[in-house]
């Protein structure tokens, strides 16, 4: 009885009452959609700070051990890194098109674009695996099989580079620690993303996101683009900016 003392509010959105997607505690679908998108953005906010700690560490150590970071980054392949950047940008484009297809309610187009995104994500992870294997063979994995021997004498690919002093050569471990921590965390996000994409494709084939309820696809798109942005920064930091020093 007490709750009726407060002025009552006529249900304005009665027509939405029976939408199968509307959960009971929202007034209407629009509120539900905005709420979940805002929630997704807040989640991405936590992701910014999650990677933020790593970027902060990278900045500090690069200033401390500049020669070691330069020498370390010369061991990465720009060609593979650039290819991966292009692959990831393509996958962001296909994901954006998937969201558009969902908005347009084109079921087959949606499935197609999502599949393309999965393939591109897989290609990225494949290239990353090739790079990791190369690091393993060169004995550049800190803690597991690291050897600084390669950095104490002249690298034939970089004739201008002077060999590092033994103590600075040891510091390349910090570079590779951060390399593996950053790209590893990024790859983990990609693996999670591809796994979710597989579920999305199966459900999209059944027509789940092409009947007016597309929030899931849209929010997943935000996640995928965020992972892309992380790579957009990792690529120059790890591969490019030390080319000439």
């Amino acid at each position: 009885m007490d709750s009726q003392v407060i002025a009552t509010h006529p249900e304005e959105h009665a027509e939405h009452e029976h939408s199968p997607y509307l959960r009971h505690h929202f007034a209407n679908l629009e509120q539900q959609r905005e709420t979940s998108t805002f929630g997704m953005w807040l989640f991405l906010l936590t992701e910014i700070m999650f990677f933020g700690g790593l970027f902060c560490a990278y900045l500090i150590y690069r200033n401390w051990y500049y020669p070691a970071f330069v020498a370390g980054s010369h061991q990465l392949s720009i060609a593979l890194g650039a290819t991966n950047t292009a692959v990831l940008i393509c996958s962001s484009f296909t994901m954006a098109m998937a969201v558009y297809s969902s908005e347009m309610r084109w079921r087959k187009a949606l499935v197609g674009w999502l599949l393309a995104t999965i393939v591109l994500g897989g290609v990225f992870l494949g290239i990353k695996a090739v790079e990791y294997r190369e690091k393993w063979e060169k004995r550049h994995v800190p803690g597991l099989n690291f050897s600084a021997a390669g950095f104490t004498h002249q690298d034939p690919n970089y004739p201008e580079d002077k060999p590092l002093a033994p103590d600075m050569a040891e510091k390349t471990q910090v570079y590779f620690s951060l390399y593996f921590a950053m790209t590893g965390m990024h790859a983990l996000h990609m693996i999670i993303g591809v796994s979710i994409l597989i579920i999305l494709v199966i459900r999209a084939w059944g027509g789940a996101y092409t009947q007016g309820h597309m929030t899931t696809v849209e929010n997943f798109g935000l996640y995928w683009h965020f992972v892309d942005i992380v790579w957009i920064f990792l690529f120059p930091l790890l591969y490019l900016i030390s080319r000439h020093q």
Binding site: W41, M49, G52, M95, M104, L222, H225, D228, F233, H244
Partner: protein
């Protein structure tokens, strides 16, 4: 009192009605092209020796690319002020983390006073 109502106005203008804005393939295509172009530029720039400016140029291009993705692929350009504020809050805190930590690392070498 007037300040209070003013602040109230600001906080209460969060749009409760969100205009659906569908971004089309044309915009996506243009942005995709720009992103690929910038990737090519940044890779090319890394082969030119610009001393300290290599890092500046590479990071500036990365920022431009990130902004393009955020504004268009992630629809922030067409989103509510709340979303924009959320994105800004994230980057603000990130900057706080970096700058306040750097106050220590930059001045550690200055020694005692």
């Amino acid at each position: 009192m007037s300040e209070e109502t003013h602040a109230q106005e600001i906080l209460d203008t969060e749009p409760t009605h969100h205009e659906e804005h569908i971004v089309g393939p044309r915009v996506y295509g243009i942005i995709f092209g720009l992103l690929m172009l910038f990737t090519a530029i940044t890779v090319g720039a890394s082969y030119i020796d610009m001393y300290a400016f290599n890092a500046v140029v590479a990071l500036a291009i990365a920022c431009i690319k990130a902004v393009l993705v955020i504004l268009f692929f992630m629809h922030v350009k067409y989103s509510s002020r709340l979303t924009k504020l959320t994105v800004a809050a994230g980057f603000f805190t990130f900057v706080v983390l970096i700058t306040m930590t750097m106050t220590d690392y930059i001045s550690r070498a200055w020694g005692l006073w």
